[in-house]
Assembly symmetry: C2
Homo-oligomer: 330 residues x 2
């Protein structure tokens, strides 16, 4: 295992790919090896800028990541692109991280692109992506982009594993109300109006509207542990023309510098890690609970009784918990 | 127990108060009696309009509830007022549900006011309030108001147990950015600009700003299971002058009628009940986990290792879960 860790740390892309395949495996022995590998590599992690990117289909995510990634390579960065897409269970992972969508980036030796794990729940997919992110950091990628499409709670999952979460918008956002899910825009640290060249007037209008809406709807602490006054920024970009990329990178750097100075940067990472630990504990407990012999039938009956208003939900929960047997500790 | 249920169902306020004291008790035998009572009363529940109300201190919540509650009594309704306030552990429950704040309402036989349970976590307080809500319904109150102040996640808890969630705002919302926590306004089905008489121009400006901000920031499905097009409404009220209460009640009735017709009303209640059941199951599992002998020390060590970046969060979670012993089912 240490040999794989060594090769990975020198930045060998095949070693990184192999390590990610290992953490994605569901075999128990692979899982043990993966945990050992991750623990061994932990000291080499934590040094990248972790950037979440999402946006509805059609917003131009691939073109944006291609342009942004190439810009970063030119500046001497090494860029990894990961994806969280629970829907890839159905699509076989073809939607996100498809290398053909980012032709220039995928052919560059200093970039690494990995599609979303193609099976599992959102929690499982998110866990594998979080671990892949650590592996990319250990392999020396100093910008790790985690992209997602608006499926279920995937935006929250991505915002919860990245330092900055960037939401791509179309210039006509003000007219296209159905495109944005409630609460998603408030997760964003940066909002990028892409394809601004298509309709500059609409892009400028959308920029002003979104800016004032965000100001109005509160600036409190986010679930990601931001400091109260972390200002959200709205910028215009035309990824196709590679226009606006440099100002965006400056805005990202400015947010990073200000948060590093205030301590919010490190605090967010600590909170994310502990939240992730507890999320996995809760998922494991739930799995043990649901999987206990006889529990499936009990749950089905309780669910029906609660749905039909025959049993109060809290009473049903207490009865189910009483039926769940815990062994005395060894 | 059936005698208490009978007296409660005739609308006897002392029986209702006694039943709520029973569900608030932490004694195991009381808990069993409470579950039996709740189950017996379930067929008599579900008929009230459940209305959540929140707003920052100073917004005039008590005056509003007093004016709104008296308006409802005049229309022949019976009104119960409950509260969710986890901070009342410190304050002894004096902040919310204090009857002296709602003098007219509290003296009326057709109204019932109950302060927040004065101990427990937010989850525990919310559970007791949910159960008290069912008891109020069984006692014939056809409008149950659940109020909360902006503490922690209490707004989410209240929105998760009510049919409509109403957020009170001050006319100067646009200038008073710090007052609103991120995400809270998006939970609201109705936003009421209170004290509109103090500055009518500011109230009208705030109404227009909030309306357009809400339109812009998405109209998708909320965590409470609303239908995508459930439109949020922004209204002006002056509770002190009892101005705007009738139009507000009409807006509430319109939302109810439209959602009842679409099936969204019943769907939200079913989803709330099942979410509540699972929330309590998760809380119970977590309690069993944390309370297992030896787990506290393990958790402390794991938390430190994860905070300091020595152990990946997922690895720590797996190790802790492996240490948690489950007994084979009987």
């Amino acid at each position: 295992m240490s040999e794989l860790a060594q090769r990975l740390k020198t930045g060998e892309r095949r070693a990184l790919a192999k390590a990610i395949t290992l953490i994605e495996s569901t075999r128990a022995d692979h899982r043990e090896q993966a945990d050992a590998l991750l623990t061994e590599l932990m000291p080499a992690t934590g040094r990248a800028l972790r950037l979440g990117i999402s946006g509805v289909p059609g917003v131009g995510k691939s073109t944006f990541i291609e342009a942004f990634g190439c810009f970063l390579l030119e500046r001497g960065h090494r860029v990894a692109v990961l994806a969280v897409d629970p829907s890839s269970t159905l699509s076989g992972g073809a939607i996100l991280g498809d290398k053909t969508r980012m032709e220039k980036l995928s052919m560059d030796e200093r970039a690494f692109i990995r599609p979303s794990p193609s099976s599992g729940t959102l929690g499982g997919v998110a866990e594998k992506t979080r671990e892949a992110l650590l592996l990319c950091e250990a392999a020396g990628y100093d910008v790790v982009i985690v992209e997602t499409v608006g499926v279920g709670q995937s935006e929250t999952a991505v915002a919860g594993m990245t330092d900055l979460y960037l939401l791509l918008q179309l210039p006509n956002a003000g007219d296209d109300l159905q495109a944005i899910k409630k609460g998603v825009m408030e997760l964003a640290d940066l909002i990028v109006i892409n394809k601004a060249d298509l309709d500059p007037a609409a892009a400028t209008r959308a920029q002003a509207q979104i800016t004032s809406a965000l100001r109005l709807l509160g600036s409190g602490r986010t679930p990601q542990g931001d400091h109260p006054n972390a200002l959200q920024r709205v910028l215009q970009v035309s990824a196709l023309k590679a226009d606006g990329i440099a100002p965006l990178w400056e805005a990202i750097a400015a947010q990073r510098d200000s948060r590093v100075a205030s301590g919010a940067w490190a605090a967010r990472r600590r909170e994310q890690s502990l939240a992730w630990m507890w999320e996995r504990i809760q998922a494991g407990l739930r799995q043990a609970f649901v999987g206990q012999p006889g529990m499936a039938a009990r749950l089905e009956a309780a669910t029906a009784a609660v749905r039909e208003g025959r049993t109060p939900a809290s009473t049903a929960a207490r009865q189910l918990l009483a039926a769940f047997k815990l062994r005395s500790p060894s």
